[in-house]
């Protein structure tokens, strides 16, 4: 699997402020990289350098083997980019705008029509195609921005907050689109929605104050949570002390928490071990009536806070 995006020691300084501090990473075909971080952490700045909008202070970046500074035009041909906030020409209609982008991308004549129609279809823009962009809802604007970025079927997609401002249905649709395109592209998306990372990304990178503080799969990320693989059970009709005593005898259970709700216990395992089967067996053997039992994946925002505030 060849690396489609390579970043080495990328740094951006604005005066005395270091916005991006010596970041290195690479993304291969088929990967969807989720870029996470608090506002101002350097997500957008990194993306802007990668797309050639911002000059690089030091380090280098390349896309499909083309350096984004010395081979800027070729690198940009390979990139589809959705800038933050999806800026568009408000006075144009959707169709004219997409035609314009297709022509800028070098298509002519019938090719323009084909490419534009395909993008319209993929983003379901048929109903607004002749409307002026400034009259569109936020959701349509975002989708039009996405249509513009995928129009030339680029090898690399860089999407800055692609689902920001969309309603849950639209979010679902855009995530589906990203997943569909993922196998033959390298995609970077930035977001502050942690659930989005779990939903679409094959890998997550968290940056804080310009530095990478985490790089791994969304599962690794969840595993960092103190309650990862914990089992929560609700037993309304039982004597919780008695249940607690029984559970304490289990070897994999590290500690029992009583949740501030009647009849709910949370069992924290030792070293993230999987204990759900043993717990449910125990409950059955002892004849406790369990109303509800589920496994905690881990609180993503807790991990996020730990990683970004401690830094």
């Amino acid at each position: 699997m060849g690396q489609m995006i390579t970043i080495e020691g990328l740094t951006k300084r604005f005066g005395s402020l270091t916005a991006v501090d010596n970041i290195s990473l690479s993304v291969g075909r088929g990967e969807v990289l989720g870029f996470l971080g608090p506002n101002g952490a350097g997500k957008s700045t990194t993306m802007k350098m990668l797309t050639g909008y911002l000059p690089i202070t030091s380090g280098r970046a390349s896309v499909c083997g083309f350096d984004v500074v010395s081979d800027a035009i070729k690198a940009r041909e390979k990139i589809g980019y959705l800038p933050e906030g999806s800026p568009l020409y408000g006075d144009m209609s959707c169709l004219l705008f997409l035609n314009f982008v297709a022509e800028i991308r070098g298509y002519r004549g019938a090719q323009v029509k084909d490419k534009v129609n395909l993008a319209i279809e993929r983003l379901e823009l048929e109903s607004v195609i002749n409307k002026p962009i400034e009259t569109l809802s936020k959701g349509f604007k975002r989708r039009l921005g996405l249509a513009q970025s995928i129009l030339h079927d680029p090898d690399v997609l860089i999407l800055d907050e692609p689902t920001d401002g969309l309603d849950p249905n639209q979010k679902h649709q855009v995530r589906g689109l990203i997943k569909d395109m993922a196998p033959d592209k390298a995609i970077i998306i930035s977001t502050h929605l942690l659930e989005e990372v779990a939903a679409v990304c094959s890998r997550a990178i968290i940056i804080s104050e310009g530095k990478i503080v985490f790089d791994g799969t969304p599962e690794d990320f969840a595993a960092r949570s103190s309650i990862h693989n914990a089992v929560t059970i609700r037993l309304t009709g039982e004597d919780l002390d008695r249940v607690g005593n029984e559970i304490e005898s289990m070897e994999d259970v590290h500690r029992i928490e009583t949740i501030n709700e009647t009849g709910v216990l949370r069992l924290i395992p030792k070293d993230g071990a999987v204990i759900v089967e043993k717990v449910s067996l125990l409950m059955r053997d002892k004849g406790f009536k369990v109303d509800e039992i589920f496994v905690e994946r881990g609180h993503l925002d807790e991990v996020f806070r730990d990683l970004t505030i401690a830094n």
Binding site: Y53, L54, P55, M92
Partner: protein, 243 residues
């Protein structure tokens, strides 16, 4: 150059999709008409030429052209579309040229629409049409110089009002550098070559040369280099102020 043409088409379409184009053309035509007939005493002079029409162009352009150029880049900066534009696979200078030519073509259209006056002059008398054509060309290249200055200033700000005012002031300085008022300010202390240099920068002097019917290569080179220098500066300003 293909993508430059794409930019020109988009920009021109943008002019005509808003009232800007129509307002500009109507104001340009009515003002140039009013100035020609009332202040320029077109009929009273009793001469079959268009001097009373062209001699007001430097003043008319002084505030009308910054009104066209102010949005060229400031608007892109304000709406954020500049980020889209500058990450398309084309060099900055092609975008600069494309935007400039779109605005220039637009002004050429407005200038072309003054042709009824030319017909009138030809109907009333026998003007030297060579001079008229030279004057039209001169007026157009001077408009290009105003535009290049305005475009460069527009690239430096996201505020269109600031872009308008600064462009008008800078154009005014170029326009006035030849007149006695400005020369009198430098005369007491500046050496002669500085005085000559300042005087030779004047739009007015070069333009007046052209509308007298003498297309001097130096005048054309002068306006051409003003356009070149300011478009180059325009590109540099964009690249220096990214982000």
């Amino acid at each position: 150059m293909g993508s430059t043409w794409v930019i020109i088409k988009r920009e021109l379409a943008a002019y005509f999709s808003t009232p800007l184009a129509y307002v500009f053309i109507v104001i340009f035509l009515s003002l140039s008409g009013a100035l020609t007939f009332f202040m320029g005493a077109f009929f009273e002079r009793g001469q079959a030429d268009m001097n009373s029409f062209f001699s007001f162009h430097p003043w008319l352009y002084l505030f009308l052209i910054p009104a066209v150029s102010m949005r060229l880049w400031a608007e892109e900066r304000k709406s954020g579309t500049i980020e889209l534009l500058l990450t398309f696979p084309m060099p900055t200078w092609q975008i600069v040229i494309g935007k400039f030519f779109a605005a220039w073509i637009f002004i050429a259209i407005a200038l072309f629409l003054t042709f009824p006056l030319w017909i009138t002059v030809n109907w009333l008398g026998e003007p030297d049409n060579g001079v008229v054509i030279a004057s039209y060309i001169g007026s157009l290249v001077m408009a290009g110089s105003y535009l290049a200055i305005g475009s460069c200033i527009s690239a430096a700000t996201k505020n269109q009002v600031i872009a308008f005012i600064l462009a008008a002031v800078l154009c005014f300085l170029f326009l006035m550098s030849g007149v006695e008022l400005v020369q009198a300010f430098f005369q007491p202390w500046a050496p002669v070559f500085v005085l000559d240099a300042i005087q030779s920068m004047s739009f007015l002097i070069h333009f007046n040369g052209i509308i007298r019917g003498v297309i001097d290569l130096r005048d054309v080179i002068y306006f051409g280099s003003i356009i070149g220098v300011f478009l180059y500066a325009n590109s540099a300003v964009i690249d220096l102020t990214r982000g």
